[in-house]
């Protein structure tokens, strides 16, 4: 009986049911991940999958957190997420994950906006509406640090990102921390001042394609195909010809805006169009420092799990060194495949 049940629920709860050479990748709407929409639609992903004789299914998930949870539960082999969420959701959940592609970092895409007041210090005693425990929360904590305030000096109100713009237009809300495209919408409202944004902490909010480490180890072809497809899309969209415009228009429409709106979001995103640029960040010692900040923030907010005695409980491996417990490494920044792309050996 137990055996039968076991079989039944292994089948229903894990992804063993699909063949080993077909894979599923999920992504959600965000300026730095729209290329996946284009790559899937234009057959670029399929082309690279065919080259390595595998199948890759690219799936759009409308709810960002849900997409990460699905990946963590084993429904997907790879998924797009930020460095902080990669640490706090899959890695803290014991799913050994590898940042296969470092796509971009937020360079103004996340910000803190005040209604009345023109500096971060004015936040003292106010309520700040934001998606709690998200990168907005991290950004706010980093900002407060820089002016000698702490979270104790204000009240954080958890507010759903879907309702952020409507919430901002009510009198109750005096300050928000959020991301684009909501940020630009809110900034453009009267009496609004952006007092802090991610361009002041460049390279700290990083957007990644995260892949299950075991799956990658067993199927290097998957890593090669995804990386190859990604940089083909990158080179297409970074050009100045009509093909680039066409690609970006497609991405703009798929994310519900127009070309101008998408270009504006791209302007506050540091896209790594070439593997070389991505490698620079991945290999740098700054990445270790960033991940230390992120791990410390996550630890003080209880995001590393209750078993975590300190911020270094979960090891984070980067080319320049490992932060935290090297015998419990759950998040790895692996430059191997991006290096192959840079060398043109994919």
């Amino acid at each position: 009986m137990k055996r039968f049940l076991a079989l039944l629920f292994t089948l229903s709860l894990t992804s063993f049911s699909h063949a080993s050479d077909s894979f599923k990748v999920c992504w959600s709407i965000y300026v730095g991940w729209m290329p996946w929409a284009y790559g899937a639609e234009q057959g670029i992903v399929d082309k690279w999958a065919d080259k390595y004789d595998i199948d890759i299914e690219v799936v759009q998930i409308n709810d960002y957190i849900e997409s990460i949870n699905q990946y963590t539960a084993g429904e997907f082999d790879a998924c797009t997420m930020t460095n902080m969420d990669a640490l706090t959701i899959p890695a803290a959940g014991g799913v050994d994950s590898t940042a296969l592609i470092v796509g971009d970092f937020s360079n103004g895409n996340d910000g803190v906006v005040l209604k009345d007041g023109d500096s971060l210090k004015d936040l003292k005693g106010q309520q700040v509406n934001l998606v709690e425990l998200s990168v907005s929360h991290y950004l706010l904590a980093r900002g407060l640090d820089s002016v000698g305030l702490s979270e104790k000096d204000l009240t954080v109100v958890n507010t759903s990102d879907a309702d952020m713009v409507a919430a901002y237009s009510t009198d109750d809300v005096t300050a928000v921390a959020t991301w684009n495209p909501l940020l630009s919408e809110i900034e453009s409202m009267p009496n609004s001042t952006k007092v802090f944004d991610s361009s002041k902490i460049p390279g700290e909010i990083i957007d990644l394609l995260v892949i299950n480490t075991e799956t990658l180890k067993a199927n290097p072809k998957l890593g090669k195909a995804l990386t190859g497809a990604w940089y083909e899309i990158m080179s297409k969209m970074s050009g100045s010809d009509s093909a680039a415009t066409k690609a970006k228009t497609y991405m703009a429409e798929a994310s519900g805006t127009d070309l101008a709106g998408y270009e504006a979001q791209l302007a506050s995103t540091e896209m790594f169009y070439t593997p070389k640029a991505a490698l620079e960040l991945t290999n740098s010692a700054d990445l270790v420092k960033t991940m230390k900040n992120v791990a410390e923030f996550s630890f003080t907010h209880g995001l590393l799990g209750e078993g975590a005695p300190d911020a270094g409980y979960i090891g984070i491996e980067t080319p320049a060194g490992t932060f935290g417990n090297s015998s419990n490494v759950q998040l790895r920044f692996d430059p191997t495949y991006m290096q192959m792309a840079a060398d043109g050996s994919l």
Binding site: A6, F9, T72, A73, I89, L133, N158, T159, D172, E306
Partner: protein, 277 residues
């Protein structure tokens, strides 16, 4: 041979059959949780009972690292206050509208169509409007619950009021009762137990609106906590919260039923001994 259709399980068997699905679900959960934890001891999707009880005692019996509150009880108190206020407002308004529209044609001629249309508006769809009108604070959460269930209660009370036999109203009038006496002495005692029934039925929707409101913007509450810890998949917190909400809902329903029997004994008498009198 006895036909299947006539086969009644005896009492112990009935209890056993009633418990069987629960036990089966429990076993299924334990086995799949075991399996996942065996493959990955840090798995968060299906925590073991030990992890769940750890998660629960952490929330309920240890002061929070950030605020020093006992989070679980704080959440429960906030949510129950919101729910109680919202339901109380809805019951009061629903009773008044329903009773007046059900008994006075002058009221029903303009209230009924309005009520029908208003009850068709999905409250969650007008959430952004509610923010702008009532702000983001406690008021909007209470109002979402109230707006969500008032039309249901009002329509139910309206129908129940109309169901009161007109002979009673005629009789009261021949005995010299005026309109307000009929409303208060004849209709209200018969409608009050129906109001409790309507409230019991609408509590499910009330919880739904409460949790939706807390998911939108909040600093505490049962729904807030679930949506917050969902961000890092802390099932060891979500599952006890869901069980607690279920238990609370059950207890509230039970106490409303008891209250109805205690305060309005004639209502139960009618339904139990109907036809005997």
């Amino acid at each position: 041979m006895k036909r299947l259709i006539n086969w009644q399980p005896n009492k112990p068997l009935g209890i056993f059959l009633g418990l069987l699905p629960f036990a089966l679900l429990l076993v299924i959960y334990l086995v799949s949780s075991d399996l996942r934890l065996e493959a990955n001891p840090n798995d968060k999707l299906l925590p073991s009972f030990a992890q769940i009880s750890d998660g629960f005692s952490r929330m309920a019996f240890e002061p929070s690292r950030r605020t020093g509150d006992y989070v679980f009880w704080q959440d429960t108190a906030s949510s129950l206050t919101r729910l109680a206020l919202g339901v109380a407002i809805a019951a009061t308004i629903g009773l008044m509208i329903g009773l007046l529209a059900g008994s006075l044609p002058l009221f029903s001629s303009w209230l009924s169509p309005l009520l029908t249309v208003v009850s068709l508006i999905p409250p969650l769809a007008i959430l952004p409007i509610l923010f702008i009108v009532f702000g983001l604070g406690e008021l909007s959460k209470v109002m979402l619950i109230a707006i969500g269930i008032t039309p249901f209660i009002a329509r139910d009370i309206l129908r129940r009021t109309q169901e009161v036999p007109s002979e009673q109203l005629v009789k009261a009038q021949t005995l010299g009762a005026n309109t307000s006496q009929i409303l208060i002495r004849v209709l209200l005692p018969q409608i009050m137990p129906k109001l409790i029934d309507a409230v019991r039925l609408s509590l499910g929707a009330g919880w739904l609106f409460l949790i939706a409101a807390e998911a939108v913007a909040a600093t505490d509450g049962l729904g807030y906590r679930i949506f917050l810890v969902r961000r890092y998949m802390a099932m060891d917190v979500i599952l006890p919260y869901v069980a607690w909400i279920t238990l609370l809902a059950f207890l509230i329903d039970l106490s409303l039923r008891q209250m109805s029997q205690l305060l309005f004994p004639w209502h139960d008498l009618n339904s139990k001994q109907g036809g005997k009198s």
